[in-house]
Amino acid sequence: MNEAQVGVAVEIDLGPVDGDGPIDVRVDASDGVEMTVPAFVGADGHARFRYAPADPGQHAFEASGDGPDGVRGAIGAEPYGGDNELLRHGRIRVADDQRTLEHTDGTPFLWLGDTWWMGLGKRLDWPDGFGRLLDDRVAKGFSVIQIVAGPLPDFSHTPEGIWHPQQANEGGWPWEPDWTRLNPGYFDAADQRIQALVEAGIVPCIVGMWAYYEHVMGPERIKRHWRELVARYAAYPVVFCVAGEINHPGYDRETGREERDARRIGQLQTWTEVAREVHRLDPFENLVTAHPGSPDARSLLTDPEAIDVNMIQTSHWGYHPPAEEWRRELGRDLGLDEPLRMGFTGSIGMTIDTVAQTPPMPLINGEPCYEGILGGNWQDVQRFNFWTGWLSGLAGYTYGADGIWQMSSDAEAFANEVSRWGNTPWQQAMHYEGGRQVAAAAGLLRGLAWWELRPVPAARAESAGRIAPFGAASTDLSVHYLPSILLDERLRGMRGLPIDVPLAGPCSARYVDPSSLVEHQLGDVESSGDGTWQPPETPTFADWVLIVERLQ
């Protein structure tokens, strides 16, 4: 009898394999549910499967496939007794409101991601560097790490790019050269990092690869790749993101429009099929999403129901969007009729429009302006994007820092084989102020019933010439982000304007400095006859968060 705890992945060695065929394990769970768990083969030639019991009791299993066919056993599960909050509350699912996320025990889950696209590579050295960065992120309050387990972004799909040394980890490349077969050594090395994330209470959002490899690998290899990821990681509380920039046809912009259009269309078909396949393979029903170029993943996939969680990417331009001519060109390359939505205005517009889609689906901003990218986008940009996005209806927000996403390191800089986004090593970027402040903001929200918040009506802001109110409210709580006076008038939300106070009963208010969380109490709120309240001037001209709570 193998021993396990509820919700905690246990790994069972099924013995040596005898062939290349798929190996599945049928599990009869203690509650009578039967499930099929895909197995995987390690570099030592042994087949294994990972299983996380959903309930206490005995879970019987039997393998089928080349080699371990007929291997049987049982797993005895006890209730979870540890202090890992993620394991205690369970994996992530969509809440009943269809707009937010929660653990399987119903506890709301606040998605604050960090972007480690290349975090399975050697430049984030294992275990020291990985542990150092992970400890920092845990201490700050991040809850998700977006990480690629396959061919990486920002490498060309030429042989030089695909088989670049920096595409490998300690176990080699994910695939053997010429795509002959998966390399289990790569995944064995990746395993310990994914496990470390979970042990630290972080949800890995595992991205299969960058989307443009689709036309190099073809759908069947991609499905094989994803079977491996599901087999190895589905027992953990993870989110599966089928690919990055699903409608980006690659960096070879000199290739003709027709071919790139064909590629993009093919990619979207494949990634839709892959999303369905991941759902089919995953017995633990982890959430599935996809990372888009633009607009949102659900709109791009050929089947909007192929994913559980929608995702947007809102560009790396903050205050100053590039000229329309160029945004139009970029949009055309992604198959859009309109210019790409960039900058603060584009980011807000894309968020609001995507949140408004029906039926509702939780929305993550999976790639806003990375801090430090393009030599800018510092903490003020990070705060603006986080707060305006969150209060416009996001279910989650993923921060990113230039230097960390590509894991440029003190010891070895990122190769920049395609692009040259920056040279800052992760060892420096991990200390960026914006990352700390965004994480602190998430901490502030966690102290409130954030999951009950819904964006406030936009009419009052729009009548004052503002593009959005940047406010959200429930029956007991309202939260507004009041941007800095440095911003264009249209982007100042409800700064200087009366806000609606629809809360039932007497309320009190406070300003919170989003860079330090220092609070200024404003006392009781006395709304005027029309149900509005004019807040006093903000304590400084910088941005502030205004919180109004119903007195208990």
Partner: protein, 554 residues
């Protein structure tokens, strides 16, 4: 009581002479001292009151030999000053080179004629009790080590507070009594200590007499007395003057009202009169200017008032609105540089780092390098929290521009990065920089100030600054501003060394040697979207291979 009527000093050192005042001098408002040099040249210096019974003057000898002095009127005091040769090796803590103005030049100059590279930090409230003397000294030494050369500070009549408000208290005192009748010499002794801290740290104090609106409250005659005290106490030191900060801006409550216009006119006339007065009483002719006020549409000194005989250099103030201020900043700079006869022009207030939660190091680097490569005589940095020496309690009339304390603001990276920029320039004959925008394509232009800036040194080297792409709205080839970089006007057929420096540290990042084409150009390419070492800001030095890097100073 010290009586040092017969004193001895060295060339270049400031000596303070004190004497017990005669009975009739004890109530005198002013005393002047006449100094006759060994060559019989005559100089008149204002004296100042140390206490009820003691007067003093400060003198810096520029020539060896016995000098004779006497009070011209109101006292019988007289004595000698024996000026000895300057020490061969300057010791630690000796004063920085005096700054003097010279006409028809683009730079402030040291007495030896070398250009003085102004990089100032802004500490308006350096004499406030919100920072101790020891703290100020640590801060000054830090700035000097980083590469700064000037500190802008106000002599007691500070911005953003009503006259004689407690927020301006230093050493428990204010510079004037409530009726504006008597100065408190103990406050001025405190201010002496603060100014000396700046000086002995190796930095030049740029002393602002008052904020502009004080003149409307006190009248010209009181402000002249204030300035006479400043000149008497500090003109012997290597200092620069600004007659006032935001000189023509009325008290904040009057801004944008009908009353503002007449007050503005009154202030302009009054401060010009004060400036002429300073010029008349300052025997050392320290460089004098006035700090403008965007609040009344004055972005450069001449937008308020001008007299080329008294205004030595032009100061700008061009907003704190991050990238939105860039176009106006460079437009104003270039507009002033186009005026003939030429005067040094520098931006004395723009985009404090951290103000209103923004204006971070990328903004600071852009402003420094764009100004320097466009022909500015220097640049003034400022950090939110530092200008008012905010210890967490300070709120000015205009409100809180930010909540950072001066301790936090002093550590902001943009400040350090500008110091590195000045040190880098000092390793080159920076005084010969000539704006040469056309040597790089793309480049900033009159209609689009957010692009690369270039200048040429007289030894043939060229310097180019590429701003962060995050600022760039107008695309270049293929949609990317920096997809292709074309350098031109190089010697055809020669080798050009391209040294790329990280403008955050001014450390050399990489070097390449390139053959210049027959048409004098070099095309720089990199990745498809970026020819620079990365999509950040960069500093490029182009030279013949054996000219690259710092000058050989051996």
């Amino acid at each position: 009581m010290i009586d040092s009527r017969d004193a001895r000093s060295n060339v270049g050192d400031v000596v303070e002479v004190q004497w017990p005042a005669a009975a009739r001098a004890r109530t005198a408002a002013e005393l002047d001292v006449e100094i006759v040099g060994p060559d019989e040249s005559v100089m008149q210096i204002p004296a100042f009151r140390l206490d009820d019974a003691t007067w003093a003057f400060r003198f810096v000898g520029l020539a060896e030999g016995l000098h004779r002095w006497r009070v011209t009127e109101g006292d019988e005091a007289a004595g000698t000053l024996d000026i000895l040769p300057a020490p061969v090796a300057p010791g630690a803590g000796r004063m920085p080179a005096p700054v003097t103005a010279e006409r028809d030049m683009r730079h402030l100059l040291a007495p030896d004629g070398s250009p003085f590279l102004w990089l100032a930090d802004t500490w308006w409230y350096a004499a406030s009790d919100r920072i101790s003397g020891a703290q100020l000294e640590r801060l000054a030494r830090k700035r000097f080590a980083e590469g700064y050369s000037v500190i802008q500070l106000v002599a007691g009549l500070y911005p953003e507070i009503p006259p004689l408000d407690p927020r301006g208290i230093g050493d428990g005192r204010l510079p004037w009594d409530a009726a504006w009748e008597e100065m408190d010499s103990r406050w001025w002794t405190h201010f002496d200590r603060r100014v000396r801290i700046v000086l002995r740290s190796g930095l030049v104090p740029a002393i602002y007499g008052a904020w502009g609106y004080y003149l409307a409250a006190t009248g010209v005659s009181t402000i002249k007395r204030h300035w006479r005290e400043i000149v008497a106490r500090y003109a012997a030191y290597p200092v620069a003057w600004s007659v006032a900060g935001e000189a023509t801006m009325p008290w904040y409550d009057l801004l944008f009202t009908d009353e503002a216009g007449p007050v503005q006119e009154e202030l302009a006339a009054g401060w010009l009169e004060v400036a002429r007065y300073i010029r008349a009483i300052d025997p050392y002719r320290r460089p004098l200017s006035a700090h403008p006020a965007p609040g009344v549409q004055a972005f450069a000194t001449p937008d308020m008032f001008d007299d080329p005989d008294v205004i030595d250099h032009v100061l700008l103030q061009t907003g704190h609105w991050e990238r939105t201020s860039f176009q106006l900043s460079i437009d104003t700079l270039c507009g002033q540089l186009a005026v003939s006869p030429a005067r040094p022009v520098l931006n004395s207030e723009v985009c404090y780092e951290g103000i209103a939660g923004s204006n971070w190091p990328d903004t600071q680097r852009f402003l420094f390098w764009s100004h320097m490569l466009s022909g500015a005589a220097g640049h003034t940095y400022g950090a939110q929290g530092l200008w008012a020496m905010n210890d967490g309690t300070y709120v000015g009339r205009m409100g809180r521009w930010g909540s950072a304390t001066w301790m936090e603001a002093a550590e902001l990276p943009g400040g350090t990065q500008l110091g590195a920029g000045r040190r880098w320039l000092l390793e080159r004959p920076w005084g010969t920089l000539r704006p040469s925008p056309g040597i790089v394509d793309p480049h900033a232009s009159e209609g689009d100030r957010i692009g690369p800036y270039a200048a040429t040194l007289d030894d043939g080297r060229r310097i180019v600054y590429f701003p962060v792409p995050a600022f760039v709205e107008r695309p270049g080839e293929g949609g990317f501003k920096y997809a292709r970089i074309r350098l031109s006007d190089l010697p055809p057929g020669s080798m050009a060394r391209l040294d790329w420096y990280d403008p955050r540290t001014c450390d050399l990042f990489e070097s390449t040697d390139r053959l210049v084409e027959a048409d004098g150009t070099v095309e720089v390419t990199g990745s498809e979207i970026c020819a620079l070492p990365s999509m950040e800001d960069w500093l490029l030095e182009i030279s013949e291979p054996d000219l690259s890097g710092p000058m050989d100073r051996s």
